[in-house]
């Protein structure tokens, strides 16, 4: 018999603008020892399912239909008192953020022992023995010493192991894991997934693994349920669902995952996901946006960095000898040729964003030279001198929720750079261009008078791109433009960037931590670590034959999603 059974679950969130059905007629069965993946994009209702099972739906959400049974007994209609005893004892939980799911002012020992004593009614000494044992099982070295430490003394991955130990401590029958590895680095993610799979098999515990990441699904789950807008669209053996998806949504979701193994021209089948107006074909060559004759032709590399360095003061002191510095970028050299897409890849803290911010003038470099089309930008001091060059390079930012001023209308956001650089003489002309730009990025004129909060993340990123294009730049810096987006939206935005790059002949510096995305987008790539460049190579060369040790390491961590299939 199945351990956990969800039948026709329907969850509603009432609001003043009408009731929102977050989950509709959702049914799954979880067998003992099985890992069942629930995959879907943000807003699909997958976390709501998890919360409904543990009886912790966020207010004002509530179940309006369906049943949830654990070992054949209904648990969705229990009293809060009884439910509290089931939570933690019979159903364990693992949440996304290991930073916030542990209490920072209690030792690990106290947190584990408290839970064990509460649920298993053991003596304190026995509970401690069990806790040490658990920490050992989840792979924490030297558990009898480390158990008396505080959460901040553990790394992110170690903390997530502690959270897993906490979920296991009352020997639950079922575990709900909500994005357990999303906050972790790729290398740590693989270890945690291995651990979870091993524990489930060993203890015959069923697990519902909620994630947006197809790579995680491919890695550990036995079966997978695909959710789309609150509904279950497909469920089946993982290999079968990923290998030959039946539902159109699943197909489109899988096709949107960037392939690490070969470069494709455009992501196919991505239109299913978000209704963006068709991109209107604008004849760019004859449009204002295509008339870039005011740039002098330049034969050499468009951007040339020489010994570029950035040093931040992390601890200030009036005595220079006592200041502590962080060298975010150390003597970096590279050229970007006209018309190419140059990628920079590296883990967080490698200095890639700092380079982008120095090139675009947000930070002032502490050493080295930035030459753009032959002009030394670092030698210029007045705004009057620099502004004509600023206009030629623009930037698309990472976080679509903070990169647009929420108090301005979309058309004013896009018009601002045109007006500031006095590129057209009348307002009417300016707003006509703005409306064309909105068409070009696939939003349409309807978007013009709205405010940014009325748009989804992907749509906001389109607005951000339109703003970057408004100055008629020839060089575009994209700093992780899709890392905050769902995979299908990412595919759409990457398609758009590719289209624009080709149509407008843009030169691009594309920054990402995601190797498959780099492979799809870039002609040449620089691999960065700790502020230094390890390797610069043609993209295909890098992926087929990485020279530097660190490049090889990064490549080995790529999700095996497509590799398994081929």
């Amino acid at each position: 018999m199945s351990q956990l059974q969800i039948e026709n679950l329907t969850v509603e969130f009432p609001s003043r603008k009408g009731d929102f059905i977050a989950v509709q007629d959702f049914s799954i069965e979880l067998q003992a020892g099985e890992i069942l993946g629930v995959v879907g994009e943000s807003g699909a209702g997958k976390s709501t399912v998890g919360n409904a099972v543990i009886g912790l739906l966020q207010k004002p959400g509530h179940m309006i239909g369906g049943t949830i049974s654990l070992d054949g007994e209904r648990i969705d209609d229990l009293d809060e008192e009884i439910m509290r005893a089931i939570r933690g004892k019979r159903i364990g939980m693992i949440f996304q953020d290991p930073l916030t799911s542990l209490n920072p002012i209690e030792t690990i020992a106290n947190q584990l022992i408290e839970t064990i004593v509460l649920h298993l009614k053991l003596s304190k000494a026995d509970a401690r023995k069990k806790a040490v044992d658990l920490l050992d099982q989840v792979g924490i070295p030297d558990p009898s010493v480390r158990i008396d430490q505080y959460p901040h003394q553990f790394s992110g991955g170690m903390r997530q192991r502690v959270v897993i130990a906490l979920a296991l401590c009352a020997d639950p029958e079922v575990i709900i894991a909500d994005e357990p590895t999303t906050a972790l680095d790729v290398s740590v993610q693989a270890q945690i997934l291995d651990l979870m799979r091993g524990l489930c098999r060993e203890r015959n515990v069923g697990m519902i693994l909620i994630t947006h990441d197809m790579g995680v699904i491919a890695e550990v789950t036995d079966r997978v349920a695909v959710m789309y807008r609150g509904k279950l669209v497909e469920i089946g053996e993982t290999a079968q669902v990923l290998g030959s998806p039946k539902h159109d949504y699943t197909k489109s979701l899988i096709s949107a995952v960037p392939r690490p193994d070969k470069r494709i021209n455009r992501f196919p089948l991505v239109t299913y996901i978000e209704d963006v107006g068709e991109r209107k074909e604008v004849d760019i060559a004859n449009h204002w946006l295509g008339q870039t004759q005011d740039y002098a032709d330049f034969d050499g590399p468009l951007l040339k960095l020489t010994d570029l360095s950035m040093r931040f003061i992390t601890k200030h002191s009036i005595f220079p000898s006592k200041r502590i510095y962080l060298d975010a970028v150390k003597k970096v050299n590279f050229d970007i040729k006209s018309g190419e897409v140059f990628g920079i890849v590296g883990e967080s803290g490698s200095g890639k964003s700092t380079i982008a911010r120095m090139v675009t003038g947000i930070y002032k470099p502490t050493g080295g030279k930035i030459e753009f089309a032959g002009a030394d930008l670092t030698a210029m001091t007045t705004a009057k001198e620099i502004n004509p060059w600023r206009r030629q390079m623009q930037m698309v930012f990472q976080d679509p929720f903070s990169s647009l001023n929420g108090r301005m209308r979309v058309e004013d956001i896009i018009a601002e750079p045109i007006q500031f650089h006095k590129q057209v003489s009348t307002n009417a002309e300016c707003y006509a261009i703005v409306h064309d730009l909105l068409d070009i990025v696939g939003l349409g004129k309807v978007a013009a008078r709205k405010f940014p909060h009325e748009f989804s993340g992907g749509q906001r990123q389109r607005i951000s791109i339109a703003r970057a294009l408004a100055t008629r730049p020839r060089f575009l810096v994209c700093d992780e433009p899709t890392s905050a987006l769902d995979v299908s939206i990412q595919a759409q935005v990457l398609n758009l960037l590719k289209d624009l790059q080709e149509e407008m002949g843009l030169t691009m510096m594309f920054i990402s931590h995601d190797l498959p995305v780099i492979r799809q987008m870039c002609d040449r790539v620089a691999v960065m670590r700790n502020g230094e460049i390890c390797e610069i190579a043609e993209t295909e060369d890098l992926f087929n034959n990485p020279k530097h040790e660190y490049s090889q390491h990064l490549l080995s961590l790529m999700p095996k999603f497509f590799m398994d299939k081929n």
Partner: protein
């Protein structure tokens, strides 16, 4: 269809947004907010139109008759139907003096709040955005300022004004001294709030986007950062308005505020206080009630506004 939507008139557009607005919705669904706003508006209305509504002009000394002095409210024995709430020791109609007095109290409150708001927001914006030494200097001044209570500063300024200016001029400029004193003592709170919010806003990517475009510091501060930090400023402003009115009343009560010839609510309460024990309670109780009505309604409204805008801030 598309064009229709764009062509939707600006007014219709505004009304649509208003109807959609969460704060507006929350206002109409909070009885306390509606009632306090109504009371505050009522008090503002009657004091603005005091010269039309009031049966007498209490500032016109010629119209006063000592024969009418210290009459009780009309429903008590000895009351005169001409004086609804009775008269004071000089024969002034209490109702009229309350109306005129509220006008002065509200005027002092509004003007001083606007002054300290402009001063505080401006300094806070510069302090937070520029940072470094500028920030340190402005914030140390604020710290020093905070160690003096508003009343002390007002007393100090009043004392300076008294010694510097001839006596007859003094009562004329008393109101300006008062406004200045309250404004100067109030800016710190705005500056601190705005500064901390600017510091969280200025690292956001929309500000960097402005820098990439090439916008100047002033444009970024004024057009991009200010609109994003101004919400809580209005909350402080509303709460500060009630406080300013009370400070003014306190100072007038202590005798360093507005002179008895142009009495504010505080002056009236002080005058009445002297007669409280001789049974003439109405001279002090009615102005007191008016003061409570203004301060309470404004405070309740400010409280609601704070919750509606952002329960986490302030």
């Amino acid at each position: 269809m598309e064009n229709q939507e764009i062509e939707r008139g600006r007014i219709a557009d505004f009304l649509h947004r208003l109807n959609d607005n969460d704060i507006w919705w929350s206002f109409w669904h909070s009885p306390v907010a509606v009632l306090s706003a109504a009371l505050a508006l009522f008090m503002i209305f009657i004091s603005v139109f005091a010269s039309v509504i009031a049966p007498f002009n209490p500032f016109d000394l010629a119209s006063l008759d000592l024969m009418d002095s210290s009459l009780p409210p009309v429903w008590q024995s000895g009351g005169d139907p001409r004086f609804l709430l009775g008269t004071d020791d000089q024969g002034r109609d209490i109702l009229s003096t309350i109306l005129y007095g509220s006008r002065i109290s509200l005027l002092v409150g509004f003007v001083s709040v606007i002054f300290s708001l402009i001063l505080g927001v401006g300094l806070g914006l510069i302090s937070g955005y520029v940072g470094g030494r500028t920030d340190a200097i402005i914030m140390r001044i604020a710290d020093v300022q905070l160690s003096f209570p508003a009343i002390l500063i007002a007393l100090l300024l009043d004392g300076v004004a008294r010694t510097l200016l001839p006596k007859d001029v003094h009562s004329e400029i008393a109101i300006y001294v008062m406004i200045f004193a309250i404004a100067v003592s109030g800016w710190v709170q705005y500056a601190r709030t705005v500064r901390s919010m600017v510091m969280t806003e200025k690292v956001k990517e929309y500000v960097q986007a402005g820098q990439v475009i090439g916008l100047g510091q002033f444009t970024i501060m004024w057009r991009h950062i200010l609109p994003n930090v101004i919400g809580p400023v209005f909350v402080i402003g509303t709460l500060h308005l009630a406080l300013a009115i009370i400070i003014e009343a306190t100072l007038s009560f202590l005798g360093v505020g507005l002179p008895p010839t142009t009495p504010s609510l505080g002056t009236l309460i002080r005058i009445g206080n002297e007669y409280l024990f001789s049974g003439e309670w109405w001279i002090t109780i009615f102005p007191g009630a008016a003061l409570v009505a203004i301060a309470l309604s404004v405070n309740l409204f400010g409280d609601w506004l704070r919750d509606a805008i952002n329960p986490k801030l302030l």
